[in-house]
Each structure stands twice: as C-alpha cells, then as structure tokens.
C-alpha cells in the first residue's frame, strides 16, 4: 500500500543510518586505533561520515519519486 511506503522508507532509513553510523563509528574507531593513535577525531569523523551517508541515503530515498532523470542527447 502506498500509505505503508513512507513507513517502510523510514524503516530503511533508520536501519541504514544505524548501520552506517555503526560502520562509520567502527571504522573511525579502527582507524583511530590503528592509524591515528586513539584520537577521537577519526571516530567522530567516521561516525559523522556514517551519519552523513545515512542522511544522504535517506534523503535520496525520500526524494526518489520526485527526482527527474534527464538524458543527455547529443545533437
């Protein structure tokens, strides 16, 4: 149903953001531990990247019906 679609989208979004955040965090942690001497910025960076990606994806998902895809036609 069309009324359930938003719900699904939100679900996906949340799941995605959780995953991304977690992945970002994880990677940040990893990077910070491995490469950046336990500094906090990779974690923040990673989580930020994660959240950002999640946000972007979420937005894209929500915008999807309204996005116009054009084709480049060479004349």
């Amino acid at each position: 149903m069309s009324e359930g679609e938003l719900s699904r989208k939100w679900d996906r979004c949340l799941a995605d953001s959780v995953v991304k955040l977690g992945a970002g965090l994880g990677l940040g942690i990893v990077f910070s531990v491995i490469f950046f001497k336990r500094r906090t910025w990779p974690i923040a960076f990673g989580s930020g990247m994660g959240i950002g990606m999640a946000y972007s994806n979420c937005q894209h998902d929500f915008q999807a019906p309204y996005l116009l895809h054009g084709k480049f036609v060479k004349v």
């Binding site: 149903m1 069309s2 938003l6 946000y55 929500f62 915008q63």
Partner: protein, 718 residues
C-alpha cells in the same frame, strides 16, 4: 532429459517394430487363405463366361432358324454371319421369292391368265405331236410344219413368262374377264386349227408320196419288160397295193383337207368375232392368230397344189397306162379274133413268154396279124406324123389353156394370200400405231390429270388455309370468351378464398403472437429472475467482505451474470464495465476503506508539506512539526461549492473525514483526489481501491436496478 527421450523413442520404435513383425505373420496367412480361392473362382468365372457365350450363340442360331426376319437383321448387323448361317441353316428362305419382282415389270404381259397355264399344254402337246409326224414326211413338209410349230410356239411363248407369275398374280384375273376368256378361246382355236392343219398337211404329204410311189411303180410296171413274170406279177400286185394306198391316202388327204378348211373357217369366224369385241390387249393375239391362220392356209394350199401336181402326173401316167392297156386289149382282141383258142392266161403274159407255147399256124397267123398290124400302125404313124403339128398345136393350146387356168388360179390364190398378208400387216401396223397413240394419249391424259390434281391440290390448300384461318379466329374468339369467364370465376373464388385465408391467417398470427409474447414474457421473467439472482449474488459477495481483506474475486459472479443474460446488451456492457482488478482480486468493503482512511489521514497530515519542490528530510521534519502544531477540526462539512484556491491538505482531509463519517465514500474520494504532492502519493492506493469499490458498487447498483426494473416489468399483475 535428452537421453530419456531418446530411450523412450527407441523403446517406442522397438515397440512399433515388434508390432510390425507381429503383424507380418498374419499377412501371409491372409494371403495363403485367399490364394486358394482366386484359382477356383477364376475357373468358375471362366466356365460361366463360356457357358453364357455358348448359350447366347446357340440361342441366336435357333431363333434365326425359326424367324427369318431376325436372321436378316443379324446378317445385316454382323459381317460374316450370312455365310455362317448358310453353312449351318441352309439358304435364307426369303431368297426364293426374288424372281417374282423382275417379271412383274412386264405390265401388259402380267395380266396373263393363269388359265393359260392349262392352255399352253395343248399347243405344246400339238408341237410334240407335230414334231414326230413331221419327221417321217419330206423336208418341205417338215419346213411347213416348222411354220406351224413356230406359229403354235408363239402362242405358248406369250403365256410362258407368266408361268411363274401365275402363282402370284391370280388376283389380276378378275379385272378382264372377257380378255382372258377371249384369248383362251383364241388359243384353243389356234391350237386345234394348227393340229388339224398339221394333220391335213401330213395326210396330203402322205397322199403325195402315195401318188408318187404309185405312179413310179406304174411306170416301172409299164416300162420294165425284162423282168421275170413272177416279178412282174409281184410288181402288178405291188402296184395294186400302191393304188389302194394312193386312193386311201388321197381320200384321207381330202378328208383332212376338208376338216382343216372347216377348222380354219371356224377360226376365221372366231377371229372376226373377236375383232368385233375389241378387247385391248387381245388385238395382238388376234393379229397373231390371223397370221397363223394365213400361214396355215398358205401351207395347205401349197400342199394341195403339190397333191394336184402329183395327181396330174399320175393322171398322165394313168392315161398312158390306159392307152397301153387299151392297146393291149385291142391287140388281145385281135389276137383272139385271129387265134380263137388262145389261152386266157395270155392276157397276163408278155409276148416273149408265148413263144414256146404256140403252134406254127398260130405263129403264122400271129405274124400275119402282126404284119398287118404293123402296116396299120405305120399308116397310123404316118397320119399321126402328118397331123403331128396340128396335134401338137392343139395340145400346146390345151396346155396353154390349162396353164393359163392354173396360172390364173395360182395368181388369184397368190393375190389372195398377198392381200391377206398385206391386210394382216396393215392391221398389225394399225395396231402398233394405235397402241403408240394410245400410250401417248395416256401420257397426255396422265399429264393433264397430274396438272389437274396439282391445280386441285393448290386450290384445296388455299381453301384449307382460308378455312383454317376462319376456324382459328372463331376458336380464338370463343376461347378468349371462355377464358375471361373462367378467369373471372377463378378470381372471385380466389378473392373469397384469400379473404378467408387472410382472416384465418390474421387470427392465427394473433394467436401465435399472443403465445409468443406469452412465451417471451415468461422467458424474460425467467431471465430477469436469473439476472436478479445473479446480481443479488454479486451484491452478497460485496457484503461478505470481512474486516480489512478484500472480498473474493468477483469474476465468478460476474460470469454467472454474463451467462444468465447473454443476449442482453445492457447487461453485457455493464458486466464488461467491471474493473479488472475487482474481478481478479475482489474489492474492499467500505468499512475497511474507512478504517484505512484514518490511517491515510494521519499520514497525509504528517507529510502535508512535502511535494516536488520540498522533499528533503528537513522538510519532512518540518511538515511533521506542522502536523503536530496545526489544529484543524477533524471534520469539516464541505461547502456546496468549492473554489480551488483555498484547498489545502488539511481542509481536504477534514472534508473527506466528514464525508467518510457520513458514509459518502465517493465525495471523500473526490476530495482526496484533490491532494497534491506526497499526501497524494500516500493516498494513491487508497484512492484506487476506493475507486474500484465505487465503480463496482455503481455497476452493481445499476445492474440491480435494471434487474429490479426488468423484474417489475415482467411481473404480471394478476
């Protein structure tokens, strides 16, 4: 998979082969079982064929033997069958009758009487009679007889062609009764006359021969004086016999001549009588008969002449004999007077015989007498010589006279004969010319008759045509009258009949119509009932929607409707107007839709701000915030008229809620249809479902209304 298939194929083919192999043993058996029969049946067929052919041929032969016409037709149709028939059955029976035809062409001759077949026997018998009697007579006589024979044979020559015809032409007799009788009598007379004449001629010939022989013998007896006395006496005896014979023959000849003359006279009179009767075809017979008569007369006359000549010669000889006898008697008398005692036997003896029986006296007296006699005779001779000339002249005169008489007689006879011949010829010519003329006249008459008949025919034809035309006119007139009358009557009848028929037909039609209408009405009622039932079923299905799940697919019920009213266009169109989804998936009930609506409302409020331009997450947050903060009454009564400017999501949703609360799904759907952007997207499914349901409901309503109407229409108010 492929292997399985190939194996299966092999198995199948093997089965087929086995099947074929199993079939083969049967086939030879079948062949063997049938092989025995063809031989026997072929022999039977051949045998029956031969039997039939032989029977056909035998039957043909037998029937041809019995029926000559069939034989003729077979001979005509099958080429060499006539030879086969001749070989087996003998010559065809119809071939014998052919000689009749060419003979019948002799028209004049055809009418010969079959009585002539009897008559011809007489001349024929006279011919063989004449033939043997002619042979012993002299050549001339036989030539004369030949005349008679030819004359007589001409008589049968005419009936000869008719001998064969006599069998078939007996019906021609009755036509000319006088002619056959006449000709028959003619023939009879001719025959008898010829017969008699021949007899007379024969007797005349006999007489001539007898006379000649007699005179010859007499001459011999007179002249020959050196024969012995016995021979002399034998001669004299023979002479007497000859004399007797001559007299007899002469008498006979005379009798026969008389008879012949009588018969010829009778014939002549008969011919004259026949001439007077003037029968047409008998003229030729009459002419022929006359000819024969003349010839017979001529022959008779010739023979009589001969007889007379012979007689005259005999007379001369007789005279001579008389003279000699007289002289002898005289001498004897003188001798007697001289020698009175002469033997009576001397008269019969010659002088030389007496030489040894007389005495010297007698001898002397005899010699003296003889001398005296010689002197006398010398004197007589002298006188005779003196008177010789006179005697000769008188004799010549006598002879001349006699000759003249004979000549006259002969000339007259010849003239008579000639006259008669000329007459005959003339008559013949006249006959011929008459016949020719008659034939010509006949042809002319025939031509005239033909012309007359042609003219008559033409006139008759013209008359016929005229009469025909008249009759045709009258007939057609009468016919037209009768026809019109008849037509009128029939027309009246037809009209009456048509009226009755029309009336009956109209009634019948009315009845039929009533019955049909009744049947139609009943049918309609039944159909309407059926339709109504099916529609009721459909609407029941709608009512059976439980909770949020859709109903059963409607296509079964729709099919039932379709089948129940297959001929109704209205219903058909309606049933085809059902949306596909309702048929396949069923529709949601109103309650379900109502329930869903509230959900939709909530969602739509939350995303009221999202549309094409605003669709980021932030906007989502904002619209959510808006929905939380904005307070609108849940239900707003929609106004009677709407203006598109003031419609926004919340208002629309309020209107729709109001409508839903009041059961107006349609209006709610209409309001929801005005949503834009994301709320619209959210409500899309609900809208579709609502649309389906509304459509289905509409169709069902129409159908039920229709069914009700039809049911009402067909219900008969009793």
């Amino acid at each position: 998979m492929f292997r399985v298939y190939s194996a299966a194929g092999r198995i199948v083919s093997q089965k087929c082969l086995c099947g074929k192999v199993s079939l083969r043993p049967l086939q030879p058996c079948y062949r063997y079982s049938t092989a025995g029969n063809p031989g026997a049946s072929a022999g039977k067929i051949v045998g029956t064929g031969f039997l039939l052919i032989g029977g056909g041929i035998g039957g043909t032969f037998l029937y041809a033997k019995w029926d000559p016409k069939f034989r003729e037709s077979v001979e005509k149709s099958v080429p060499y069958s006539d030879k086969v028939f001749e070989a087996t059955l003998g010559p065809a029976p119809y071939a014998v009758s052919l000689p009749k035809k060419p003979i019948s062409s002799a028209a004049e001759v055809v009418n010969q009487k079959p009585a002539q077949t009897k008559r011809k026997e007489k001349p024929e018998s006279s011919v063989p009679l004449a033939a043997p009697t002619a042979e012993p007579s002299l050549e001339v006589a036989s030539a004369e007889a030949a005349h008679i024979i030819s004359a007589a044979s001409e008589v049968p020559s005419i009936p000869a062609p008719g001998t064969h015809d006599g069998n078939g032409e007996s019906e021609g007799e009755q036509k000319s009764a006088t002619r056959p009788a006449l000709s028959a009598a003619l023939e009879e007379e001719l025959g008898s006359a010829a017969h008699v004449t021949l007899q007379a001629i024969a007797s005349q010939e006999a007489a001539v021969s007898a006379i000649n022989s007699h005179s010859q013998k007499l001459k011999e007896a007179m002249e020959d004086s050196e024969v012995t006395p016995e021979q002399k006496s034998a001669q004299w005896g023979a002479l007497e016999d000859a004399l007797k014979q001559r007299s007899k023959a002469v008498d006979e000849a005379a009798d026969a001549l008389l008879k012949a003359k009588d018969t010829l006279e009778k014939l002549r009179s008969f011919i004259d009588g026949a001439k007077n009767i003037k029968a047409a075809g008998a003229k030729s017979h009459i002419l022929v008969a006359e000819e024969n008569l003349n010839r017979m007369l001529i022959d008779l006359d010739n023979v009589v002449k001969k007889v007379q000549a012979a007689q005259s010669e005999a007379k001369i000889v007789a005279q001579y004999h008389e003279l000699v006898a007289v002289a002898k008697e005289q001498f004897q008398k003188e001798l007697d007077s001289i020698t009175p005692d002469v033997h009576p036997s001397w008269k019969g003896l010659k002088l030389s015989d007496l030489a040894g029986k007389l005495s010297t006296d007698d001898l002397n007296s005899l010699i003296a007498h003889a001398h005296r006699r010689i002197d006398q005779l010398i004197k007589q001779l002298a006188i005779q010589r003196a008177r010789e000339q006179q005697h000769v002249e008188t004799a010549v005169e006598q002879q001349k006279q006699e000759n003249k008489k004979m000549l006259d007689m002969a000339v007259s006879k010849a003239l008579d004969h000639y006259h008669s011949e000329i007459n005959l010829e003339q008559e013949k010519k006249v006959e011929e010319i008459r016949e020719v003329m008659e034939a010509e006249m006949r042809t002319q008459l025939r031509r005239q008759a033909a012309a007359h008949t042609d003219h008559l025919r033409d006139v008759l034809k013209v008359q016929e045509i005229e009469l025909k035309v008249e009759a045709e006119q009258e007939f057609s007139h009468k016919l037209a009258e009768l026809e019109t009358h008849y037509r009128r009557m029939t027309q009246e009848q037809i009209d009456n009949f048509t009226l009755d028929m029309n009336a009956a037909y109209a009634r019948l039609k009315g009845m039929e119509q009533a019955v049909e209408n009744h049947a139609i009405a009943e049918e309609k009622a039944r159909k309407a009932h059926q339709l109504w039932l099916s529609i009721e079923a459909l609407s029941c299905i709608l009512k059976l929607a439980s909770g949020d799940s859709p109903t059963e697919p409607l296509d079964g019920a729709v099919e039932a409707i379709k089948s129940s009213c297959a001929d109704n266009e209205f219903t058909q169109t309606l049933t085809s107007a059902f949306p596909e989804d309702s048929l396949k998936q069923g529709v949601y009930s109103e309650a379900a839709l109502r329930a869903r609506f509230y959900n939709i409302r909530k969602l739509a409020r939350r995303v009221a701000l999202i549309d094409e331009t605003r669709n980021s997450l932030y906007q989502y947050f904002l619209s959510y915030l808006q929905s939380l903060l904005l307070l609108e009454p849940q239900q707003l009564k929609p106004p009677a008229q709407l203006s598109s400017g003031e419609l926004d999501t919340f208002k629309l949703l309020a209107y729709a809620t109001y409508c839903i609360e009041h059961g107006d799904l349609e209006l709610a759907a209409k309001f929801l249809n005005q949503l834009k952007g994301e709320p619209r997207r959210v409500a899309q499914d609900w809208l579709n479902e609502a649309r389906l349901t509304l459509e289905t409901k509409q169709v069902i309503n129409i159908l039920s209304a229709y069914a009700n109407a039809v049911g009402l229409g067909t219900t008969q108010v009793e």
